[in-house]
Amino acid sequence: MKKETWIQDVLESSKGVKSAMANPFTTTRVLANLTEEQTQIKRWQLSLSVACLLLVLFSVIQINQNDISIDFENDTKTSYSVNYSQLYPY
């Protein structure tokens, strides 16, 4: 066959391409992927919420600890006095 005829035949072969069929389970797979994706997002959201909650709890505990701790040994400026009459009213 002549070169030009062959090239023309090959180029024309594009007309013999009919629509190829996609996998019949495409719908099922896409929906399964979306469900999986949403589960992952929910899992992440849950982990993030737990992490935030833990952070808040930790911060509250820290703040409380700071409030009640008084460094008596190194605190030279404050004078601490005890009103004994209130402690022992009798």
Binding site: K3, W6, I7, D9, V10, L11, E12, S13, S14, K15, G16, V17, K18, S19, A20, M21, A22, N23, T26, T27, R29, V30, L31, N33, L34, E37
Partner: protein, 193 residues
């Protein structure tokens, strides 16, 4: 709720039933255009799934300026080209590693005998050469040629899908035909030798 444009409205609300209908309507067209570009059935199937996941997530971005099919074709073609880019990068990386380790330099992605599953029997042999030549085209030329010759879309719609002017598409197709001729001449000469 029966026209595809209405399905998008429902998909925006998270209706997966509407998504199922849209997939059934468009899956073959998406798969057909993707497989012609990536030339691998498994990859094309994966990309087809990704296209509809993207449609679901980006339903809000569809404004109705173009046809729904044009918008879906655009997503499909972008995904197919992304896939080719990644494949090229992997090939380049494999080549670089092969320079350091001669045993790891196997050719990972080569499909010289790609058979498009939609080709009619009497055209199978010729179509093999056609797709091998298409595979050598630049990404843009390949995209335009596949949409025009395999999918049979008019140049105006291809311009919308590829976000280019009509004259650019004409020129891309003209250059693609020239490149294909050159490639096919090469194949012919090799066959004669």
């Amino acid at each position: 709720m029966e026209s595809p444009e209405n399905w998008i409205e429902e998909i925006r609300k998270g209706n997966q039933n509407a998504l199922s209908k849209l997939i059934v309507e468009f899956q073959d067209r998406v798969f057909n255009s993707v497989i012609s570009i990536v030339q691998n059935p498994e990859d094309a199937q994966e990309i087809t799934q990704d296209v509809f996941i993207e449609v679901y997530h980006s339903a809000d971005k569809f404004r109705g300026d173009s046809k729904l099919s044009t918008w879906i074709y655009r997503i499909a073609n972008n995904k197919a080209l992304d896939h080719l880019r990644k494949k090229k990068r992997k090939k380049r990386f494999a080549f670089i590693t092969s320079l350091f380790d001669p045993h790891s330099g196997e050719q990972v992605f080569d499909q010289p005998n790609f058979e498009h599953p939609g080709v009619i029997l009497e055209q199978k042999e010729n179509a093999k050469y056609l797709f091998a030549a298409i595979d050598k085209l630049s990404a843009k030329q390949k995209q335009a040629y596949v949409l025009n010759k395999i999918e049979g879309l008019p140049n105006k719609e291809i311009a919308e899908i590829m976000d280019m002017s009509l004259s650019s598409i004409d020129s891309l197709l003209h250059r693609a035909k020239g490149s294909l001729r050159k490639e096919l001449e090469g194949f012919y000469n090799k066959m004669k030798d």
